[in-house]
């Protein structure tokens, strides 16, 4: 690209388009991140498909009705929903350049996320204690893979959240940190969208079956 010159600067005729014009740093990050989320969506779609196909193969083992406690799932769902709105508040305070408030909302979001993961792990531990391990039936394999993958995403989101809180604490709300917080916000809300599918298709329809 060294041969490409800006014609307005030199005044010489240029017979080709200089294809490398300056981009502001990170101007395409949000679109790129969105495309990553869409590919992540395909992973979840495949896991949902596997669960849809195998979800009724109990192999004479426990069925959703024996395993799931909808009260617990409702509490878990509200944790994730609350963390979504508190992340929204973090973004709003970020736009107003209020560092302390942004950090506070991020912290609250993280606490809701930790609560979600803790409840999920308690549920898993309880199921495994009752003998409903992933090896027990195809239904349980598909269940643990789908819900576990979602839980893993949330855990990664929490690590990311803590990392960004340290970044904001050290460097303030600079443009790069705003961009990162915006990406994490998309990631976090996306995980909430996936959870809508999980609680509807896995838990509610499972208990209904």
């Amino acid at each position: 690209m060294t041969v490409a010159v800006n014609p307005t600067q030199t005044g010489e005729p240029v017979f080709y388009l200089a294809d490398e014009h300056p981009h502001p740093e990170g101007h395409s990050t949000s679109l790129g991140f969105w495309i990553y989320l869409m590919s992540d969506c395909l992973i979840f779609a495949m896991l949902f498909a596997a669960f849809g196909v195998l979800g009724a193969n109990y192999a004479a083992g426990p069925a959703p009705k024996d395993l799931f406690d909808l009260n617990l799932v409702a509490v878990n769902t509200s944790m994730l929903l609350l963390s979504s709105i508190t992340y929204g508040f973090a973004m709003l305070t970020m736009q107003q350049n209020k560092i302390a408030q942004t950090q506070m909302w991020l912290l609250i979001t993280g606490l809701f996320g930790v609560a979600f993961i803790s409840i999920e792990l308690t549920e898993f531990a309880h199921m495994i204690h009752e003998g409903a391990t992933p090896q027990r039936s195809a239904f349980l394999s598909a269940f643990f893979t789908l819900v576990g993958t979602h839980g893993l995403h949330v855990s990664c989101g929490l690590i990311w959240l803590v990392t960004l809180m340290v970044q904001v604490w050290r460097f303030g709300l600079i443009e790069a940190n705003r961009r990162r917080l915006m990406c994490l916000s998309m990631f976090w809300h996306f995980l909430d969208v996936v959870w809508i599918g999980v609680f509807t298709f896995v838990y509610l329809l499972g208990v209904l079956r």
Binding site: M38, L92, R178, V193, T200
Partner: protein
């Protein structure tokens, strides 16, 4: 100072990209809608209000779809204009892929299941 001007410039440019930011009221509206759209399916299943399971299943699936759209609009700020329409294009492409993969898998595997030789015939053929 240099970083400040750069940040200000980049931030101004950011708005030109058409990436929407939420406001307090849109976030709250999205949150209230989500709470309602979550609470009703849980209530329907836990209380068993509707007469048949099939109707309940269809209703809660409809609620899930509506809630996903609500999250997309109010939390993920999706609009046909964001990123000059490219994020919507990516979304539509993904939805098409997901629908093909999900419905295809369920349909084919369901057919395989129903066309499977019944178990007792299998054991009789040994």
């Amino acid at each position: 100072m240099n970083t400040d001007t750069h940040a200000a410039h980049a931030h101004d440019h950011h708005h030109d990209d058409g990436h929407a930011h939420g406001t307090f009221s849109t976030y709250m509206l999205g949150f209230v809608l989500s709470v309602v759209l979550t609470a009703i399916p849980f209530w329907l299943v836990m209380s068993g209000t509707l007469p048949s399971k099939q109707i309940t299943a269809l209703v809660i699936m409809a609620f899930a779809v509506v809630q996903i759209v609500v999250h997309m609009i109010y939390f993920l700020h999706m609009s046909p204009k964001s990123e000059n329409g490219w994020s919507m294009m990516a979304l539509i492409f993904t939805i098409v892929m997901v629908v093909i993969a999900l419905s295809g898998s369920l349909w084919v595997m369901n057919h395989l299941n129903s066309n499977m030789m019944p178990m007792h015939e299998m054991t009789g053929m040994k």
